[in-house]
């Protein structure tokens, strides 16, 4: 009885194994092995990153990166191979595909791979599976305490200072930067962290949204529900990494911080314009 039960359960595990081999190729294994990332005895770190989840995530993302969005990354050599760094980018495309693609670019960078962390919305941990999966591949709830602790641990952190204002914006506002939060600048100043500005071009076209169905969003208790294609469209995406920006000194007043944030915003705007000018085909 026990034996026959085992043979029934053995099938899916063989299938699982085959699928795993397809996703986590030896190439992915080798890439992850090169990443300097300290983890505990079971492969976890304090914020929920898990080595094997990261491998699977990277395997899937790499396929999307190469074959679906056909991503081109420019200026990856600007990202330091080790030490704390804040990766600041424009946010677009309803789903956080831009975060996934930047993370993939950094993890597979020939100039020193990084397992980047992304600050995620606070409601994600309440969603079954999604919360754990996002934590496993490096997502962390966007709490300043988390960000500060991770910078002290010399992590690379992706921040979208526009938040849902950027990702949820409709098609008519494409490539227009929304208001930036100042939080990242405070963290950069306090923890002496260089900022890498990134311009993401193409994610706007993955999920053009006509409008936000606000009543439905309220009902579902999510930030927005776009009137958009149900799945991301295969737009070509290009990532433009700028030169590191270093800000120093104590915080005198919030207005001064806002001015510094504007400098970063201007840099990102420049990178986006550069990307749009270089783009030859949208899809």
């Amino acid at each position: 009885m026990k034996r026959s039960w085992r043979s029934v359960t053995a099938m899916p595990s063989a299938l699982q194994e085959a699928l795993y081999q397809r996703v986590v190729t030896p190439e992915i294994e080798a890439m992850v092995a090169r990443i300097p990332k300290p983890v505990g005895s079971f492969g976890y770190d304090a914020w929920g990153y898990h080595e094997s989840a990261f491998k699977v995530g990277l395997g899937l993302a790499k396929w999307l990166y190469d074959h679906y969005f056909r991503v081109q990354a420019h200026g990856l050599e600007q990202v330091p191979a080790q030490g704390r760094v804040l990766i600041i980018a424009n946010h677009s495309g309803q789903l956080p595909m831009d975060g996934v693609l930047i993370g993939c670019a950094l993890a597979t960078s020939p100039h020193g791979p990084r397992a980047a962390r992304a600050m995620i919305e606070r409601f994600f941990p309440t969603v079954p599976w999604l919360g754990n999966v996002l934590n496993g591949i490096g997502g962390v709830i966007g709490d300043p305490v988390n960000c500060a602790r991770m910078l002290e641990a010399d992590e690379a952190i992706i921040v979208f200072p526009e938040g849902v204002r950027g990702s949820g914006k409709p098609w008519k506002l494409r490539y227009q930067l929304q208001r930036f939060g100042n939080g990242f600048m405070h963290l950069a100043l306090r923890h002496r962290t260089p900022i890498i500005p990134v311009g993401v071009v193409g994610c706007e076209e993955t999920m053009p949204s006509l409008a936000n169905i606000a009543p439905l969003a309220r009902l579902l208790n999510v930030p927005y529900v776009p009137l958009a294609p149900p799945l991301p469209l295969p737009a070509r995406v290009s990532l433009h990494f700028g030169a590191p920006m270093v800000f120093e000194g104590a915080v005198d007043d919030e207005a001064a911080v806002t001015t510094q944030v504007e400098e970063v915003k201007t840099a990102i705007r420049g990178l986006i314009e550069q990307g749009l000018a270089q783009r030859t085909s949208v899809y």
């Binding site: 505990g40 079971f42 976890y44 929920g48 919360g131 709830i141 602790r149």
Partner: protein
């Protein structure tokens, strides 16, 4: 009774400090008593039963809330109190627990002042921080205690802490140290998590596997002893810097996983209530199986030069072996 083993550098009894240990019937207190024995005059106290101890350790079965408790302070000149004993949330009802844990501790602290006890150690729990989706990782000791927001069943843990904290600032002569350990596991440990991992089948919430920290009961006993001997009053988390997801821990302990629907939140509570899982998966701890409460134990490790000597695998292998013996 055989004469107790005599360590080499044993002081005469009159020169030694006298230490009162509460919760003496428990696994942790027993280990602490073993470590103190011979170097200190130990007095064992438990409200559950009179503990069998070595011949020269006086042992009392006494309720801290009752008048008889003061007699122990009258009869012995107590130098330090290690308050380890607490009624767990799965033992007795909320009212009884509140009386024992909060009012009992209040009585204890008053007696410590009255009889000039020079040092008090309070054994608290990480539950006081509360499990919430908004918790950042690596909570430090300044983080607000939000457990009472999660459930009324943990109010006694939070109040015991605030009581101890008030005494810590108002009566520095008591030299109070509060320790907030993560999950303590190991042989004979009877807290919810240990009972859970001892079972062949352990409930898990579908789609949730929060990160957890575990400490071996022997390491926790060492932590209590160094905190007592070095006497640096304050509040400290006690946790290793290693982490594992709950469902992984369950598997590593040789348990089979029993998936329980997790949303809406009322469902797992209802299941726990109906199946009477109060001892190991109680309704009011559901959130701790959903969201992580990860402590930063760095302050304690640096202050006392302590590091846990047993790793996660050492801890889990005890539960694995226990099941192999049982089957």
């Amino acid at each position: 009774m055989a004469t107790p083993r005599k360590p080499a550098a044993r002081k005469p009894a009159s020169d030694r400090k006298t230490v009162l240990v509460t919760g003496a019937a428990g696994s942790l207190a027993k280990r602490v008593i073993t470590r103190l024995y011979g170097r200190y005059n130990v007095i064992a106290v438990d409200f559950r039963r009179q503990v069998e101890t070595d011949a020269d350790i006086p042992s009392y079965r006494v309720d801290m809330g009752k008048r008889g408790f003061e007699d122990i302070f009258r009869q012995h000149r107590i130098d330090a109190v290690l308050h380890i004993g607490r009624i767990f949330p799965h033992e007795h009802d909320r009212m009884r627990r509140y009386n024992a844990n909060v009012l009992g501790a209040k009585k204890l602290l008053e007696l410590c002042r009255k009889y000039g006890v020079g040092q008090v150690l309070i054994h608290s729990t990480y539950f006081v921080y509360g499990a919430s989706p908004y918790n950042p990782a690596l909570l430090d000791e300044d983080h607000p205690l939000k457990a009472s927001e999660v459930t009324q069943d943990l109010v006694d843990s939070v109040e015991l802490e605030s009581l101890a904290t008030i005494h810590l600032w108002k009566h520095p002569e008591l030299n109070i140290t509060i320790l907030r350990p993560c999950n303590v596991l190991g042989p004979e440990v009877r807290n919810s998590m240990s009972i859970l991992l001892s079972r062949p089948v352990a409930p898990v919430l579908l789609g949730f596997s929060p990160l957890m920290q575990f400490l071996h009961v022997d390491d926790m006993a060492d932590a209590l002893v160094v905190a007592f001997e070095q006497n640096k009053p304050g509040i400290y988390n006690v946790a290793p810097d290693d982490y594992v997801a709950y469902q992984e821990a369950v598997t590593q302990c040789g348990c089979r996983r029993l998936p329980v629907p997790s949303i809406p939140p009322a469902v797992p509570k209802l299941v726990s209530n109906l199946l009477n899982w109060n001892a190991f998966f109680p309704p009011y701890l559901i959130n701790y199986f959903k969201y992580p409460v990860i402590l930063d134990g760095g302050l304690f490790r640096r202050t006392f030069g302590w590091t846990p000597r047993r790793n996660l695998n050492d801890i889990f292998s005890y539960y694995r072996k226990q099941k192999l013996i049982g089957s």
